[in-house]
Amino acid sequence: MFRALVLPLVALLFGDPPEIATLPPNPTGQQIVDAVDMDMFARDERYKVRLKIGDGTSVDPVLDVYQKTLGGIEKRLVRFASPPDLRGMGILVENRETMYVYLPGFDKVRRVGMHARTQNVMGSDFNYDDLGVLRYSHDYDATLMQTTPAEFIVEMTSKPGRDPIYVKLKAWVSRKCMQYTKIEYYDAHGMHVRTHLREYREGKGAGKRCLITKTSMIAHNRGNHLTVAEILEVKIGEKLPEDLFTVRSLARGN
C-alpha cells in the first residue's frame, strides 16, 4: 500500500520518467506506431530546445515546446525564446490543418494556412509540418519490415485521403525506449529527402521511459544540410493547464 501510494509521488516529485509503452507479443507495424504515438502524448510534456542550424550562430533559436492531450486531441504549443527578433513569437498546433501563430510585433494571432507546412522553421531543416504532425498514425499505414534485437524497422505509407508532405517514411523504433531513433522521409518520387535522428537517455529503473537528449534533421535535398536540436530541458508528467493550449493563451505571449 505504501509503495503503491508513495513511490509514484516520490517519482513525480523527483522527475523520474514514467514507464515506457508496452506492446503485445509479435506486434504489427501499426501496433508499434500506435504505441509510440500513444506514448508520445500519454502525459504532459515540456521541452526547451536549442536549434543549431548548419554551423549555428551566437544567437541560435531556442524554443519552449509544450504538449498535452485534451479530450483525446493532442495539442502542441511552441514559444520562441530566441533569436531576439523572434522572441515572444508563438505557434499553437491543434492538428495539421489548424495552426495559429502569435506575432508579438503586432500583438496579433494569425491563422497559418496549411500550405505553409512545407516552409522551413527559421531556415532550419525542420518544417512546419514537423510541428504539426502530432501522430504518425493519423496519416500513415505502417508495416513491420524487420525486427532486430534492438529495433523494429517500420515502413509507413500515406493513408488514402491524407496528403502528408512525405508519402513514405521508414522508421527505426528502439525496442528498449519504444521511441523513434531514426526516420527516413521519402517524397512522391521515391527520393530519400530527409533523415531524422533521435538520441535518448535511458530512464532510471526497469521500464522507465527514455528521455530525448538530441535530435538531428539532415536534408539530403539541401546538400545534406544539418539542423541539430539539442534538448536543454525536459519535464514529463508535470501537469500543464488546459488553458495553455488555447488561442487566447497564445496571445498572452511569453
Binding site: 490543418e97 488561442v247 498572452r252
Partner: protein
C-alpha cells in the same frame, strides 16, 4: 510617465521582489533618399524635392516583468533620433527645418532632435475571474484577420507618418477585457480619450490649393469653384479634437470562435474616424493682401459593424484565405464656408452648409489568399475595397490647379489589389521581397521591392525602394502621399 515606467522596468530585479524580468530591444538605422522630385499637378512647382528624406537612428527597449503566473507588466519604448536638425536647410523642400536663431544652435533639441514612442506600457491581470483577463494601460489592440488592411481594426489610430511602417498603430490608454471558453473569445475594449492619426509629413501638401473642394453636391461645388481661385490661396488647417468627456470615449466588442474549422468573428466599434475632415473654412484677405483660407478640421463619429473569417481551401492545395468586411455608419459632416467680403454665404439647395461626408452607410472589405509554392516562395494577394484612409460614401473630387475646370472624380472607397511575394534562400538568410498596390480606379500604384539579409547573427540588413506611380491627381501620385525613395537599413536585435 513612459520614462518612469521604463526606468522601473529596467531596475526591477528578481532579487528585490520575486519579479521575473526579461528585456530586449534593437538599434536600427534607416537612411532614405528621395530619388525623383514630385511636382504639384502638372506644373513645374516642386512639391517634394530630391534629397535625403530620413536619417533615423532608433533605439527600442522592451521589458516584461512577471509577478507569478497572473500578473505581467510590459513596456515597449523607442527613442528616435531624426538625424535632421530643426534649423532650416538651404534649398530643402522636405520641410524639416523651422526658423531658428543662433541661440537655438546651442540646443540639442534643435541640433539633434529626438522623440520617444511608447508602443506599450500596460499591466496584464490573468484569470481575474474564470476565463477573464484584463489589460490596463497604454496598448495597441489589433482586431481582424486581414493583413494590414483590416476594416474592423479601429480601436487605435494609425501612425501614417512613415509609409514603410504602413499599418503601424499608435498606442492609446485603454481598458481591455478578454473572456474565453476554449477558443470562443469575447473581447471588449474601452478607450477613454480619442487620439488622432499621425499624418505623413507630406500631408500639408494637400493644402496647396483649394482645388479639393470637398462638397459632394455638384452645384454647390461648381459655384464655389467658379467664384474662388483654386490656387494662390494660403490655406491652413487647424484640427479640433473631440471633447474629453465620457460621451466621446470609444469602445468595441469582438466575439470570435471557430465553426467547421473556419475562424469566425463579429465585431462592433463605436468611436471616431482617426483622420481629419474639414468642418469649417473661413476665406479672407490677409494683411499682405493675399487671399487666405483657414480650415477647421474635425474627427467624425462612426460606428462599425464587422465580420471576419479565415481558413484553408483544402481543394486548392491548402491555400489560406481570409475575408474581413465592415459596414461603417458615419456621422454626417457639413463644412461651413465663410466667404471673403463681398460674397454671399455658400449654402446647398436646402440652405445649409454643404455636405462633405454623407451619413450613408458604406462597406469596406478585404479578401485575401496566401500560398507557399515550392517551399521557398510565399505569395500573398488581397483585394481591398476602401483603403485605410478612406472614409465616407460619395466621391473624391480632384481638380488640377492648373486647369480648375477639369474635375477628376472617383469613389471614396477605391478598389485595390495588394500583392506580393517573399522568396527566401541561403537557409532563409536572404529574403527577396516584392510587394505592390494597384488602384483599379485611377491606375496609380506603389511598388515596394527590397532585399533583406540576416547573414550576420542578430543582424538584419536591408536595401530597397518605395516607388509611387501615377499622376498628381491620383491616389498614389498625389504629392501629399509622398515621393519615391530608396532606402538602406541596418538593425541589431538583442
Amino acid at each position: 510617465v513612459a520614462i518612469k515606467v521604463l526606468a522601473l522596468l529596467l531596475i526591477a530585479s528578481p532579487a528585490y521582489a520575486q519579479i521575473d524580468f526579461s528585456w530586449g530591444g534593437y538599434i536600427y538605422d534607416d537612411v532614405r533618399f528621395i530619388v525623383a522630385q514630385k511636382n504639384f499637378d502638372q506644373s513645374s512647382q516642386v512639391a517634394v524635392d530630391r534629397g535625403f528624406d530620413r536619417n533615423e537612428t532608433r533605439l527600442r527597449l522592451t521589458g516584461t516583468a512577471r509577478a507569478g503566473d497572473n500578473v505581467k507588466a510590459f513596456g515597449d519604448f523607442e527613442f528616435v533620433w531624426t538625424g535632421f536638425s530643426h534649423a532650416p536647410y538651404q534649398a530643402s523642400a522636405q520641410g524639416y527645418g523651422a526658423p531658428a536663431t543662433l541661440a537655438d544652435l546651442s540646443s540639442l533639441t534643435t541640433i539633434d532632435p529626438f522623440y520617444l514612442v511608447a508602443y506599450g506600457a500596460y499591466l496584464d491581470l490573468y484569470h481575474v475571474l474564470p476565463g477573464l483577463d484584463l489589460r490596463l494601460g497604454r496598448q495597441i489592440v489589433t482586431w481582424g484577420v486581414a493583413d494590414k488592411f483590416s476594416p474592423t481594426n479601429n480601436l487605435n489610430s494609425l501612425d501614417l507618418e512613415d509609409p514603410l511602417r504602413f499599418g503601424q498603430a499608435i498606442a492609446n490608454d485603454m481598458v481591455r477585457a478578454d473572456w474565453n471558453h476554449g477558443d470562443f473569445i469575447v473581447s471588449a475594449a474601452w478607450v477613454p480619450v480619442f487620439r488622432p492619426a499621425r499624418l505623413p509629413r507630406t500631408a500639408p501638401l494637400g493644402l496647396h490649393s483649394l482645388a479639393r473642394i470637398p462638397y459632394q453636391e455638384d452645384d454647390l461645388r461648381h459655384l464655389v469653384a467658379s467664384l474662388l481661385p483654386t490656387s494662390g490661396i494660403a490655406v491652413q488647417a487647424y484640427p479640433i479634437l473631440p471633447p474629453t468627456d465620457l460621451a466621446n470615449s470609444q469602445g468595441g466588442v469582438r466575439i470570435s470562435g471557430r465553426l467547421a474549422n473556419v475562424d469566425l468573428a463579429l465585431s462592433y466599434y463605436i468611436g471616431r474616424h482617426d483622420l481629419p475632415v474639414p468642418v469649417h473654412t473661413r476665406v479672407y484677405v490677409a494683411a499682405n493682401n493675399q487671399l487666405a483660407a483657414d480650415t477647421t478640421v474635425g474627427f467624425p463619429r462612426m460606428q462599425v459593424a464587422g465580420f471576419d473569417a479565415a481558413g484553408n481551401f483544402a481543394v486548392l492545395a491548402d491555400m489560406g484565405w481570409w475575408l474581413e468586411t465592415a459596414v461603417v455608419f458615419p456621422q454626417e459632416m457639413r463644412m461651413g464656408l465663410d466667404p471673403p467680403p463681398g460674397f454671399e454665404q455658400f449654402l446647398d439647395k436646402d440652405g445649409r452648409a454643404g455636405i462633405v461626408i454623407p451619413d450613408t452607410p458604406y462597406l469596406k472589405a478585404t479578401a485575401g489568399i496566401d500560398h507557399t509554392i515550392a517551399r521557398h516562395l510565399y505569395v500573398n494577394v488581397q483585394y481591398v475595397h476602401g483603403f485605410i484612409d478612406e472614409f465616407g460614401s460619395g466621391r473624391n473630387i480632384w481638380r488640377a490647379s492648373d486647369s480648375p475646370s477639369k474635375e477628376v472624380t472617383s469613389p471614396r472607397e477605391g478598389n485595390y489589389v495588394v500583392a506580393g511575394a517573399d522568396y527566401k534562400f541561403r537557409d532563409d538568410r536572404i529574403l527577396l521581397r516584392f510587394f505592390g498596390v494597384y488602384d483599379f480606379d485611377d491606375s496609380s500604384a506603389v511598388l515596394f521591392p527590397q532585399i533583406v539579409a540576416t547573414t550576420f547573427a542578430a543582424t538584419e540588413l536591408s536595401l530597397g525602394a518605395f516607388v509611387y506611380v501615377g499622376d498628381p491627381t491620383t491616389k498614389f501620385g498625389d504629392p501629399a502621399a509622398g515621393a519615391s525613395q530608396a532606402f538602406a537599413r541596418a538593425k541589431f536585435s538583442w
